[in-house]
Symmetry: C2
Subunit: 325 residues, 2 copies
């Protein structure tokens, strides 16, 4: 008899990635397709169905496919309907993900937030292996979070748990797109880092400009978080100041999370973390100011281990954990 | 055959309460004894053993007692050893709670933080009945928290989850006993409310003093949180200002918790909550400033329902949930 496997789908604003994965986490097949998000929710759903069909064809036999797992931007209710929060997929809210797949392929589906499945992936195959309680924070364009508690993915009733980017860390702080002020996303995401670099470098007089500050003042539109951290690596004083500030803000959110959950590990992932250990080290300096000492002593902050396939792997893993084989 | 029951022990700095409870939550017997905390950890442990003996005698037959549950100040490791955090019980850290009970009575024990068991009690018998995900905050002398997630008590590996009183809500805020600054406990606990009442009333000129502000200025040592809320009920402007300030701070902690966990309910308990709905209403005004809108729309803040026996009931319930019957 063939080993059971699951299909994992990672829906993004530009591409949809899909894999067929076995229980040990081995990818048997993979494929991807354009989301065509601008053409609306129906088109995106059709593309998901087409990708599943392609993966089933590669697998050859659907008989040993336990089900389909989907990681999607936004929140998914218990019945498989997207209930909100998917700003980069127009019309996606209100779409039901379970029925069309069940009708077309006779396969059960489980879906949840894309960051949550990436966190599950880190828990099973990445930096959280063997850990029962962990919190992932992904520092990309935005700042998303995912939780694995008591060994299981924690989503909350409405799939909305882990909105860690909107923990408010500064009273009357920077305006966030969400309407709140001082969300940690406005400091520690890639866009937040650039925003704070511009604020910090804005008022610096010409005679004390460092190479980094000069670049930010003269070519602000060329700055991204990678460049900021290249100057951090060169010990540019103003780049270091930016790093200190954003890591202080990130540490505030981490402190609140630690005091609430006392997880064994905080896993930091996403594009910003290509900067590496310097962020972990700086957060480690600030976090004790915002965290109960005994909890701090029992936790560690580490860097995520998985790359671009984390979402699809986590989505497939969700099938094994939530749909009986 | 007799119905299975459990013994629940609620250890406090002054008294130890104990009950025999059946699976439906009915208390069959109860008793209490002085902690004698000043006489040291050995004496406290002896008193716990004596209380268990008294309860077993009342029950008559130990054969249908599934086990012993203990709620204790501080944190308890997986092996039943108190690993820290019990400031009002000198020498309690390092005490093992499971072995002496197993040796003397042949009964298995499960122990955890006293606030955590009170939260479990609210989840099963109080304001959290029927709810899978809830967070309790107890506003007493200090501010403690307990979590029930995915229908189960969540303790973290070291029993330290739910240190909600030490979520930092104000940068460089009021100094806390724990060493941090700006912990929510320094604002929204009974002692925090009094502290903030004094700070707010301190500088008020004589000619604009309200009855409340006059009382705080002239007899600061007579103020407690109950008195503050008596004046809030009378709409005293400065008492209202105190209430606004402490509820704003409480709302900040709640916002961080909601964005992390998206629980269905936040349950507010403890002596401060005798003030009632005014605190819930004021927190409801401020919390949307610190919480992702869609999460806020799916949660509610309610007042705890259980009184003095919540701890012992939760400790007994923990037996049914963690020790096989």
């Amino acid at each position: 008899m063939m080993e059971q496997c699951a299909i994992g789908i990672d829906l993004g604003g530009t591409n949809i990635k899909g894999i067929v994965m076995d229980r040990s986490g081995r990818t048997r097949h993979s494929s991807s397709i354009h989301s065509e998000a601008k053409k609306g929710a129906d088109k995106v759903l059709k593309n998901i169905l087409r990708l599943i069909e392609m993966l089933l064809q590669k697998e050859g036999d659907a008989g040993h496919v336990t089900g389909i797992g989907i990681g999607t931007p936004g929140f998914v209710g218990a019945d498989g309907t997207v209930v909100g929060g998917a700003a980069n997929l127009p019309g996606w809210k209100g779409t039901n993900l379970y029925c069309p797949i069940l009708e077309k392929f006779g396969l059960r589906t489980t879906a949840t937030n894309d960051v949550t499945v990436a966190a599950l992936s880190e828990a099973r195959f990445g930096a959280g292996r063997g850990i029962d309680n962990m919190v992932c924070m992904f520092l990309g364009t935005g700042l998303g979070g995912g939780l694995v508690l008591n060994g299981k993915v924690y989503k909350g009733k409405w799939g909305m748990a882990g909105e860690l980017g909107h923990i408010v860390v500064q009273t009357d702080g920077l305006q966030c797109n969400c309407g709140l002020k001082g969300c940690v996303e406005q400091y520690a995401s890639a866009t937040g880092i650039v925003r704070n670099a511009k604020i910090i470098c804005e008022g610096i007089p010409k005679d004390v400009l460092t190479p980094f500050a000069k670049l930010v003042q003269e070519n602000p539109d060329t700055i991204n978080s990678k460049i900021v951290y290249e100057y951090v690596a060169q010990q540019d004083p103003f780049a270091l100041k930016v790093n200190d500030h954003v890591c202080d803000m990130l540490a505030r959110a981490i402190g609140a999370i630690l005091n609430t959950l006392s997880p064994d590990r905080i896993i930091l992932g996403g594009g910003v973390m290509n900067a590496g250990q310097v962020i972990v080290d700086t957060v480690n300096r600030y976090a004790p100011n915002y965290c109960w000492r005994e909890i701090w002593d029992k936790t560690e902050i580490v860097i995520a281990e998985l790359g671009g396939n984390a979402g699809a792997m986590g989505a497939a893993e969700l099938v094994f954990e939530e749909i009986a084989g």
